[in-house]
Every structure is written in structure tokens, then in C-alpha cells.
Amino acid sequence: MESDQIPESGVTTKMPPMNESGQASKRPLTIGNLVQMIFFALVIRPFLALFIGLRVSGRAHLPESGSFILIANHSSHLDTVSLLSLFPLNRLRRIRPVAAADYFDRNKIISVLSRTLFNILPIVRKHITAENNPIRQMRAALEAGDSLIIFPEGTRGSGEEMGEFRSGVAHLLEKMPEACVVPAYLINMGRSLPKGEFIPVPFFCEIRLGKPLKIQGNRREITALLETAVRELKDAVI
């Protein structure tokens, strides 16, 4: 369904070389970046360590530099926050959680906060044109050396059961077969802070990271492989 909406014409032909060295993170710090770093150091990290008691397994699977796509199941606003907390502060500005513009731009305050504190890459979910094509935006971010956090379910699920993956990541990988994908499975986030609630209950949450993948194939195969990679982490005994 979604695949029909994405125009193919807007894709650029010239491809700058992928940034493997991570040297591109020498992009100058903006005030917004600093605010984000301070916010994570003083609020998010203590909150996740002392209140949520976040546990992480497989941290070594995260590439130490270069751009990659982090995919995970989605059930809570804690998901993005926890995944961002995996990275060193000086790398935060290179990590872009891909987020629905219609949700995060619903008012001015949320729009500014989500861009500053979480550095989101806002994408449109409806009325896609060549200019606002999400695949192009994501590709441009990756080519500039940024990494993406994508929730392939497309929205927060209501329970602990993971929804079906959409084909967005597959579209992206079709254009960039060399891109590296890291699967993650998030546990208890939706129990701590479910959809519609604003105060979290301190259930222990966990992030399970899997081995980085390079995936090729058609869209359906890629989507199925990604979903399997995340599901396997769910069932893994750690």
C-alpha cells in the first residue's frame, strides 16, 4: 500500500561516498545540539538508570562509527529515548529518530522540543510528493553520515505484541544496498509508558541489540527479513 505512494522519480542519481570513518561527526555543534547533550546527561540518563533501570544486552553490536539504520519494535515514547541513550553524548547529534511529522508537528512547542531534544527527522505519512519524499530524506541523512532510528511498524502498538512491519526500510535498502541495519528488540517500554499515558511506571525495561545486517533482495523479502531479525531477539534467551 505504502509502496504505491512513493514516487520513484525524485531519487538523485549522484551518490556521495558513504561515510565509513565517522569523521563527518566533526560537523560544528549548534546550541540545540548542546541543549540535547545536557538534557541527556542530566535528565534522560539518570532517569533511565535510576527510575527505569534500563538494561542493555548486545551493546557491542552497535557500530562505533559510520552511519547505520537502527530498527526496533515500537510501543512507547520511551523507545526513542532509550535507543538514543545508547550513544555517547558527542554522537547524539548524528542520530536521527525518524518520526511522523503529523504527530510531532501537531503544535509548535512539541515540534521545537522534539527537534531539539531528540533531533528527530520528521517525515510525512500522507500527501507524499517528490519534495517531501521520506525515502529521499532518510537517504540524504544517511549519505551525510547520520544514522537513523526507524520503527518499521510505523506507529506505536497497543500491547506487547509486535505489529507487522511496513516496507519503508526496504525501499531505503533497495536504493542503498550497502547500508548497515542493526535490529533491536525493546521490552516492557509499553508497560512503563503506554500510549495515552504521560507518567511512566518504573517497570524494568530492556534493549536487546542484534548483529548488524546487510540485506539484499526485493522489498517483501527485505521487510520479512527485518521482521524476523527483530522477532528472533524477542525469543532469544539471554
Binding site: N188, P194, I199, V201, P202, F204
Partner: protein, 312 residues
């Protein structure tokens, strides 16, 4: 103030000696029997060093800092318990209230002694009455009784029970004694924890006859009697922390070690019910915070009310 510090320093040296002995025993064991793996035991003893250091820091710290520590202790214990509950989506609001009750319970202690009455009824009366009302507001009746009971039970055991230690800490010296609230906390925690360790040691070496095999197969009569008897002997060594006579020390130590055993047995049953071995993994070799303070949840209120009734 100075004569309060003296028994605490003395106690610090005793605990240091116990830890040095424990570490020496482990080092010797692993040298005599290199084929056996003592790394689990070694990490357990190492964790005791850390816990003892933190605990002494809390004992000598200003009362407010000690209270913050106890808030965190109760919070983490409650968190480990709630995490294992089969909660419903409708419980969200009352769980928030439950965790909010923790700093409030310790706030009454900060206001003590005139707020003793509030401290002692806040959870058993007000939270007990109000939590089910919050659950009613969620409009979900399936599983209502289970939710209301489980949450209140946790509050009683891990917040109300443990907060007695913190209240004791803020109490002044009993009439005509060098002891103080702080030294009494040292006494009860040392005796109960030593009793736990000694019950384990006696049980491992001589244990044959199981007390409650379906709940906790590691608890044996030999461990129970040996552990409690040797903990009582040790308690006589640290009688200087208390206003008790020799006979009274034996009686009180008997009370709190048996209460501690009951606490451990109850929490074992809870773990069995949840199908887990430990409540968590924050303390290397020990499991979760709850695995370490389970006996104190029972011993602290018993000790507190004994002391308050007979010595204040």
C-alpha cells in the same frame, strides 16, 4: 554527638574484621581446592564489602541523606516486586500512586517524632482505603481484587516494613543509654544479615533435614538452628549498640532472627509463585535488592515496635 560516634566506630572495626575474615576464608578455600570454582562466593563477599561501606556511609550521614537512601531502597525493592506482577493496563494510575506513596511515607519520617501517628497509619489505612478507589476509576473490574491486593501487599512489605528502619534511625537515645537510633539500626541489620549468612553456611555444611522443601529447598533445620544460635552469640558481642541487658539481647536477637527467617521464607514463596530464582540482578552474587532485604522487611517492624514499647 561524640559519644554517639564512638560505638559506631567500634562497630565499623568489627564489621571490617568480619569482612577480612570472610575474604581470607574465600582466598584460602580457592587455594586449597583450586579445582573448585569459588568465583560466585568471591563476588558475593566482594558485594558485602560494598554494601557494608554504603551502609556505614548512610548511618553516619545527616538524617536527610539517610532518608533519601531509604526512599531509594524501598523504591527499588517495590520496583523489583511490581515488575514481576501480572499487571493490567487499568492498573497504571494506581501504580503511579503506589510509587508516589514511597517518598510521602518517608516524608512523615522527616517530620518525626510528632508525625509518628501519620507514619504508622499512612500505608495501612489511607493507602489501603484509597488505592482501590483509584482502581475503580479505571472502570475495569476483571482482576480488580487481585490488583488491589497485590499492590497493597507490596506496599506493606517493602515500603511500610522497610521504612521502620528509617524511622528508627531518626530516634533519639533511649533513656540512660549510649545507644541511639543509628546504633539500633546497625544492631538489627547486622544481626539479621549475619543470621542470613550463617544460616546459609550451616545449611551448606551440615544441612540434612529440610524445613519447607516445596518453598525453599535450601532451608534446613540444621541451618536454621545453627544460624540463629551463632547470630545470637555474635549479637552479644555488639550489645554496646543497644540499651539491652544480656538476657534481653538474647531474647531480642532470637525474635529478629526468627522474624528474618520468616521474611526470607515468605519472599521465597513469592518468587516461587512468580517462577523466578531471584528478584533482580543489581547485586552481584546476591540477586536483586529484594533478595538482600527480604528478611529485614519482617525483622525491622518487629524490632522497632519492641524497642519503642520497652525503651522509649
Amino acid at each position: 554527638m561524640l559519644n554517639n560516634l564512638e560505638p559506631i566506630t567500634k562497630m565499623g572495626l568489627i564489621v571490617l574484621a568480619v569482612l577480612v575474615i570472610a575474604s581470607t576464608v574465600v582466598a584460602t578455600l580457592s587455594r586449597i581446592k583450586p579445582q573448585k570454582d569459588y568465583s560466585e562466593l568471591a563476588s558475593r563477599v566482594w558485594a558485602w564489602w560494598i554494601m557494608a561501606a554504603i551502609f556505614f556511609a548512610i548511618i553516619v550521614a545527616p538524617a536527610r541523606i539517610s532518608l533519601v537512601f531509604f526512599v531509594f531502597l524501598s523504591f527499588w525493592a517495590m520496583k523489583e516486586y511490581v515488575n514481576l506482577l501480572k499487571t493490567r493496563a487499568a492498573d497504571h494510575g494506581s501504580l503511579i500512586l503506589t510509587f508516589l506513596a514511597i517518598p510521602i511515607q518517608y516524608f512523615w519520617i522527616a517530620l518525626s517524632p510528632p508525625w509518628y501517628g501519620m507514619f504508622i497509619i499512612f500505608i495501612p489505612v489511607y493507602m489501603f482505603l484509597f488505592l482501590p478507589v483509584r482502581l475503580v476509576l479505571s472502570k475495569e473490574t476483571t482482576g480488580f481484587v487481585a490488583s488491589a491486593s497485590q499492590i497493597q501487599w507490596g506496599l506493606m512489605a517493602f515500603v511500610f516494613g522497610l521504612s521502620h528502619l528509617a524511622f528508627l534511625l531518626t530516634m533519639p537515645a533511649p533513656a540512660g543509654s549510649l545507644a541511639s537510633g543509628r546504633t539500633l539500626v546497625l544492631f538489627v541489620v547486622f544481626v539479621v544479615e549475619m543470621s542470613d549468612v550463617l544460616q546459609y553456611v550451616w545449611g551448606k555444611t551440615l544441612g540434612r533435614h529440610k524445613i519447607i522443601p516445596t518453598v525453599s529447598p535450601n532451608k534446613t533445620w540444621e541451618g536454621f538452628i545453627g544460624g540463629i544460635a551463632s547470630a545470637i552469640l555474635l549479637s552479644l558481642l555488639i550489645r554496646f549498640l543497644t540499651p539491652f541487658s544480656i538476657g534481653e539481647t538474647i531474647l531480642v536477637s532470637f525474635l529478629i532472627t526468627v522474624a528474618g527467617f520468616c521474611g526470607g521464607a515468605v519472599m521465597s514463596a513469592v518468587k516461587r509463585d512468580f517462577g523466578v530464582k531471584d528478584f533482580g540482578s543489581v547485586i552481584p552474587g546476591h540477586g536483586g535488592m529484594l533478595d538482600r532485604v527480604d528478611s529485614l522487611c519482617y525483622a525491622a517492624p518487629i524490632f522497632f515496635h519492641y524497642v519503642r514499647f520497652y525503651h522509649y
